[in-house]
């Protein structure tokens, strides 16, 4: 049967992570995840008295059931969500969606291109590829408007030693770890700029 009633989760950690974006860690309260959660799946958050909305897992649940989400303030529900603090409870339903066929990435080179908070949905894919030794190499090309807009700071710090990570900024680039690029639709030239050889798999996400 469908589980329409939300399960209760508690905020155990929350910090600012990018412009109008926050990094949440949730912990199940009185339940365990009874279904395996696949890469690319999503979940619903219910704020009593406000409503419910879908969000992506930035990390799939660990052994204790804790998971992360990078959430950007974009409307009525997220505005209320940003008033919540560590210890507050809210509702959770999930996982939903079919997920991505990440196991098809076997011994291939992978390029992941993400922009702004569009990095959040691919975070689980990057961790999967790192932890499962599925690809011969992983390159992440992450573009953002400026340094303040960049999200998943802690994750990117962790990834930097394990994958090829290029960060581009439209404004204020050229400093440590970033390249200043102008807007370009010239993909071959773009790839040459980052010295990316023959590619087999593209994962492209944009904040939209």
């Amino acid at each position: 049967m469908l589980q329409l009633t939300p399960q209760t989760i508690r905020i155990v950690d929350v910090y600012d992570d990018g412009t109008h974006a926050r990094h949440f860690t949730f912990e199940p309260k009185g339940f365990v995840h009874n279904k395996p959660i696949g890469i690319g799946q999503f979940f619903m958050l219910t704020l009593p008295g406000v409503g419910l909305a879908p969000f992506t897992y930035t990390s799939i649940p660990d052994k204790t059931g804790r998971f992360n989400a990078l959430i950007r303030k974009v409307g009525h529900l997220t505005e209320k969500l940003f008033t919540l603090r560590k210890g507050d409870v809210l509702g959770y339903n999930g996982p939903f969606g079919s997920g991505w066929p990440v196991d098809q990435v076997k011994q291939k080179k992978v390029l992941i291109v993400a922009g702004g908070c569009g990095l959040a949905p691919v975070a689980t894919t990057i961790d999967y590829l790192i932890n499962n030794d599925h690809s011969t190499s992983v390159t992440l090309l992450y573009g953002a408007r400026d340094i303040e807009s960049q999200v998943l700071k802690n994750e990117r710090t962790r990834w930097r030693s394990k994958i090829k990570l290029f960060e581009t900024l439209e404004i204020g680039g050229g400093g440590k770890n970033t390249i200043n690029v102008c807007k370009s639709n010239n993909h071959p030239g773009f790839l040459k700029l980052f010295n990316i050889p023959t590619l087999c798999i593209f994962v492209v996400l944009n904040a939209g």
Partner: protein
């Protein structure tokens, strides 16, 4: 259960319907048709003292009994400030007595749609369906055209009643009672009933052919279904039809297969104060029937609405009823040919009007 031999084994004769009704009333709450104060026929569990229940194929209430399974409004869960708790419906066993083939086919359709819905299924498992074969076509009805009647489709009811008009029996009506499911068979186990023989089953089939032959020509419906699936209906026609849609939701409320719903929350206006003096927010989440013909039905959180125009909503509704796209999942169209939308639509864009218009437009 539906093959010939089993049907013969599970078929009985009944002289007096009251015997069956009274017997079932011992174990089930009876849901029957009665007239309300305005003379409108309706399915009801609360029979008025002076009211006599209506029974028979000629009584097809404007509203189908779908609300007894998919409630028009119901609570789903509540939040007490700390946890969420499911509110499943409190149910008693009910028997829906004398449901026509079209509505039974619709229930079977909704059984698929709500297969994993705990609220629907809680009600469904406590309901016994007693179907009735129709003896003549009803006005607006074209069940035979969409494989939903006029006789009860196999396995859509637990028990089926079919009136056998026996020749030379001085107008005496005798009922054939068929148990279609294990549940149906168990419900009449305690009754000492005479077994039907092959002749009675043959007579039922003969009567079916007779009723089928009495339907008028509804070939425009088949033609329109074909045009709809060929994508050959011009946008202009949908625009023209949609001018007459008032978004009243009459069609979707009365359609026995329509299953769209939305949810909303009731917030406790006076939050209780706890020992720590912090306010506790309590809420209850309910769901109600919704309609794809409402302007905001498909509106997304961003404000974007993929069905902003009435023409898009009207097209979508008919697509949902007659598109081949739904056949793999539901094994049939989403229309059971009851004609209620035609009966209720104030803009006269019910099924007959729309399908006729499509046929005329695309044919020329």
């Amino acid at each position: 259960m539906s093959n010939g031999n089993n049907m013969l084994n599970d078929s009985y004769l009944l002289q007096n319907l009251a015997v069956l009704r009274n017997h079932l009333a011992e174990s089930y709450s009876l849901v029957q048709i009665q007239k309300d104060n305005d003379g409108e026929e309706m399915w009801t569990e609360q029979l008025g003292e002076s009211n006599v229940p209506l029974f028979g194929h000629k009584h097809l209430p404007l509203a189908s009994p779908k609300g007894f399974l998919f409630a028009e409004k119901e609570a789903l869960y509540k939040f007490d400030g700390e946890t969420f708790e499911t509110i499943l419906p409190q149910v008693v066993p009910k028997v829906l007595f004398g449901v026509q083939a079209c509505d039974l086919t619709a229930i079977a359709y909704q059984d698929k749609f709500f297969e994993f819905d705990p609220y629907y299924q809680k009600r469904r498992e406590h309901i016994l369906l007693v179907g009735i074969d129709c003896e003549s076509p009803c006005s607006n009805g074209f069940c035979a055209q969409v494989d939903a009647g006029p006789h009860v489709n196999s396995s859509t009811a637990d028990l089926v009643l079919s009136r056998l008009k026996l020749e030379g029996a001085n107008q005496l009506s005798e009922w054939l009672l068929i148990a279609e499911t294990e549940k149906g068979l168990n419900s009449i186990k305690a009754l000492a009933l005479e077994k039907a023989d092959e002749e009675h089953l043959r007579l039922r089939n003969k009567l079916l052919e007779k009723v089928k032959s009495e339907f008028i020509d509804y070939s425009y419906i088949n033609n329109a279904i074909e045009y709809l699936n060929n994508n050959s209906i011009p946008i202009k026609l949908w625009e023209e039809l949609s001018v007459r849609c008032l978004s009243c939701s009459g069609c979707t409320n009365l359609c026995p297969t329509c299953s769209c719903y939305s949810t909303y929350e009731i917030v406790n206006k006076k939050p209780e104060k706890t020992i720590s003096n912090s306010k506790v927010l309590k809420t209850e989440t309910l769901r109600v029937w919704d309609s794809c013909l409402f302007q905001g039905f498909q509106r997304e959180a961003s404000g974007h609405n993929p069905a902003q125009k009435a023409a898009q909503r009207v097209e979508r509704f008919w697509f949902h009823k007659f598109s081949d796209e739904f056949l793999p999942e539901f094994k049939r169209y989403g229309c059971v040919g009851c004609g209620r939308c035609e009966q209720t639509c104030p803009g006269t864009i019910g099924v007959h009007s729309v399908m006729k218009r499509i046929d005329q437009e695309c044919c020329s």
